[in-house]
């Protein structure tokens, strides 16, 4: 069974700072997808960024980028110029088409961006 671990339960930063959220996972699969989802307070969860495991190049999406280390099974999210609207829970998630085809989430990191 796949597991996803987020070792930072909470993080607090000042506006405009750069944020790095860490995530590790465990799987025996070779083809899979990794995600970062954002869940603002009392609002729906939305996709931030996606990484296909077969791609060596790290995914980027506007201010957001990932550092994907397949051998180390590490998948961190980095974004610059943090804004008050970035305050949210951030979940790392794993998906395998050849496995159970369910999205497996970590426990999340609660990020607070302070003015």
């Amino acid at each position: 069974a796949q597991t996803v671990t987020q070792s930072q339960p909470e993080m607090s930063v000042q506006e405009a700072e750069t944020v790095t959220l860490s995530c590790t996972y465990d799987t025996s699969e070779n083809n899979y997808y990794l995600f970062w989802y954002k869940q603002p307070p009392s609002r729906q969860m939305i996709l931030v960024i996606r990484q296909e495991a077969y791609k060596q190049q790290n995914a980027t999406e506007n201010r957001f980028s990932v550092n994907f280390q397949k051998a180390a099974k590490s998948f961190s999210l980095k974004f610059s110029d943090s804004q008050l609207g970035d305050t949210a829970m951030y979940f790392c998630a794993f998906f395998s088409q050849g496995g159970s085809e369910k999205l497996v989430f970590g426990k999340g990191t609660k990020l607070t961006v302070n003015p």
Binding site: Y33, S42, F91, A93, F94, F95, E101
Partner: protein, 115 residues
């Protein structure tokens, strides 16, 4: 395009009472998920549907939980009788099945409080 719609947003009941949650997925999405999210935790899958067929209900507590997806569109999740430990947010999500790569679209969730 309308997103995933869930109702009710909030529900407070006493233990041993029944409760039902409703979900309308994005049009054309044939895969539907129900997740449970306990406070401060990541979502955990309860059941996954492909059209009207429940293809993964291994994590659904079948003694008190039931779900249905008639005609492969809307879905209802029921708890009867509710217990104190069922207090959580129940998330519905959908995806386009044939090319499912784990990108799920979530509703705002139904927050259940059992007293």
């Amino acid at each position: 395009e309308a997103g995933v719609v869930q109702s009710p947003r909030y529900k407070i009941i006493e233990k041993k009472q029944p409760v039902a949650f409703w979900c309308n997925p994005i049009s054309g999405h044939n895969t539907l998920y129900w997740y449970r999210q306990n406070l401060g935790q990541g979502p955990e899958l309860l059941i996954r549907y492909e059209n009207e067929e429940a293809v993964d209900d291994s994590q659904l507590p079948k003694d008190r939980f039931s779900a249905e997806r008639l005609k492969g569109v809307d879905s209802t999740l029921k708890i009867q009788p509710a217990e104190l430990g069922d207090s959580a947010v129940y998330l519905c999500a959908s995806s386009f099945g044939p090319t499912n790569t784990g990108e799920l679209f979530f509703g705002e969730g139904s927050r259940l409080t059992v007293l």
